[in-house]
Subunit: 321 residues, 2 copies
């Protein structure tokens, strides 16, 4: 029997969104549940499989679904488990075998990977990496994540946890404290949070410089504020992007020396900063990359619709089942 | 017809060594030619294929050779070419299509890769990485090279040049000048040359400290001198190893965050420094690695005989033809 559809599930800390996806990458039907309203993994999976079965039954899709792909924070692709994901309380006490539990409840084969790997698969099947066998997706959101594809396959490592490029040490001396307990991690600089932190630091350290950002006094400055100010030509905001691009660009040069990707694809909130990020970034890479790679690696911004990309990326896993 | 043998060729800047290798990794017959005694790629390939045919005929191996594998400085695995290799004059004027030329002359299929990738294949088939699907070989010689295996395959990148880990920027501010034209590259610190450079720097910067190395006055201090002094308990020499291990160890932590290898295998001259390098290195990694990888990646030293490893590694390519 033909199975023309897959289900993609994007598990976030707050919300779990699911969609039925066809081979062209169109999301035909959607549903969602809360992620953290449950005391145990069992009750979460119960609610999720109820939502899945409801979508299947409401749309007469029984027998037409090839499988389920999930993008899961801190997901272990080898084991099909989730463990100790920040903000999801039912994952704290130990590894929850999500894929096998979900298969048991739905009768459908299921695969999971972490969010950034799902994004990489989404780009390869539906996005700007179509046809590429070697590329890296860098997700620039609250943190910095990465999905690495080499020889047409995800690099997941011996334990399923490869691709934590947000935690390479970008600044070795006097680097910023990171949530991981170390200092100088790339994500303390190149995430949305890092950009806001840089803006606040620049304002503190240069009390004489004027900036539109100084008008924001009743709440903390965000990366969106920095972008809005940059659009208006604000010098300090532009300097924040230049500083961010220098640190990110030098790190990308190291990643290029690792896997020599055809493209590095920027994905997520901060990637939408457009030329304020990409132009200085390309300049830093041109200046700093090892000569054998000069001019070879494209810096691209994901063109997938943000709201859809995560579901599409996760669904891409299910075609491989 | 059964083809129980392959030919492995290790091309160095001075000497090109070849061996007939069986499936167990024994080198049965050997030969060699000079690498740089030729005006053109054609005349080099003529001499090399003469040497190959001689070994085959002298030992009645016609029809029993599956193919030829070559480890080549600056070799492009995708293209089968060598281009602009330091010290090999006939490579300066453009890419030389070594594999196709050699196949034409010998009638044998031929594959090449760079030296470090050949070392990685050698470790996977005959060495300490036997059975591993995810590991990194770091070659610590005059320079620092690397061969990366993920999902059981060499990571060679879109252009065939992945794995230049000697040129990740280990020291971002005030780093040492590197032969590549940039500063702070890992190989300026963690190679044999880098260790000697550190020793000379330590002596200059600390004129009051005594050291056995100060007795070497008629020639430059080498990494072997540093090792010999460390064996005798020389404080400055031990400090040189600690310093080297800190820089190399922090870089290895970044590589672990990239591909989460089961093992990192040290290979080449400096790797023979044994515990003076590996003990502080393991300590740095334990202290610095991201918590998800803690205690997971083994630091191993290649056990292959140095003189044989390069030929074995290159020969490993030929089994895959």
């Amino acid at each position: 029997m033909d199975t023309p559809y897959v289900i993609g599930i994007d598990m976030g800390g707050t919300n779990t969104a699911l969609g039925v996806v066809d081979r062209r990458g169109d999301i035909l039907f959607r549903s969602s549940i809360n992620t953290d309203d449950y005391a145990t993994g069992e009750s979460y999976v119960d609610a999720l499989s109820d939502a899945i079965n409801e979508v299947i039954n409401a749309n007469n899709l029984a027998g037409q679904i090839k499988g389920i792909g999930m993008g899961v924070p801190n997901g272990n692709m080898h084991e099909g488990t989730i463990e100790k994901a920040a903000n999801i309380s039912w994952t704290k006490s130990g590894a929850v075998p999500l894929t096998s539990m979900l298969t048991k409840k739905t009768g459908l084969p299921c695969k999971l990977t972490n969010d950034a790997n799902a994004a990489a698969l989404g780009e390869m099947i539906y996005g700007v990496a179509k046809g590429m066998k070697d590329f890296i997706v860098i997700t620039l959101g609250t943190g910095v994540g990465s999905g690495i594809v080499a020889n047409g396959q995800l690099v997941i490592g011996h334990d399923g946890f490869a691709g934590e490029l947000g935690h390479i040490t970008a600044v070795r001396n006097n680097g910023r404290a990171c949530g991981c307990g170390r200092t100088g991690c790339l994500e303390t600089y190149a995430s949305a949070t890092g950009v806001a932190r840089t803006a606040r630091e620049f304002m503190e350290l240069n009390p004489q410089t004027t900036s539109l950002l100084r008008e924001i006094v009743h709440r903390p400055v965000t990366s969106k504020d920095v972008y809005d100010a940059a659009v208006k030509g604000d010098r300090l905001a532009l300097d924040v992007f230049n500083y961010t691009s220098r640190i990110l660009g030098e790190a990308l040069c190291d990643f290029i020396a690792f896997s020599s990707p055809k493209a590095i694809i920027l994905f997520g909130g901060l990637a939408n900063s457009g030329k304020f990020l990409t132009e200085p970034l390309k300049k830093v890479i041109d200046e700093h990359v090892l000569y054998v790679y000069a001019g070879k690696t494209e810096i691209l911004v994901s063109q997938l619709n943000d709201a859809e990309a995560a579901i599409l990326g996760a669904s891409a896993l299910a075609w491989e089942i």
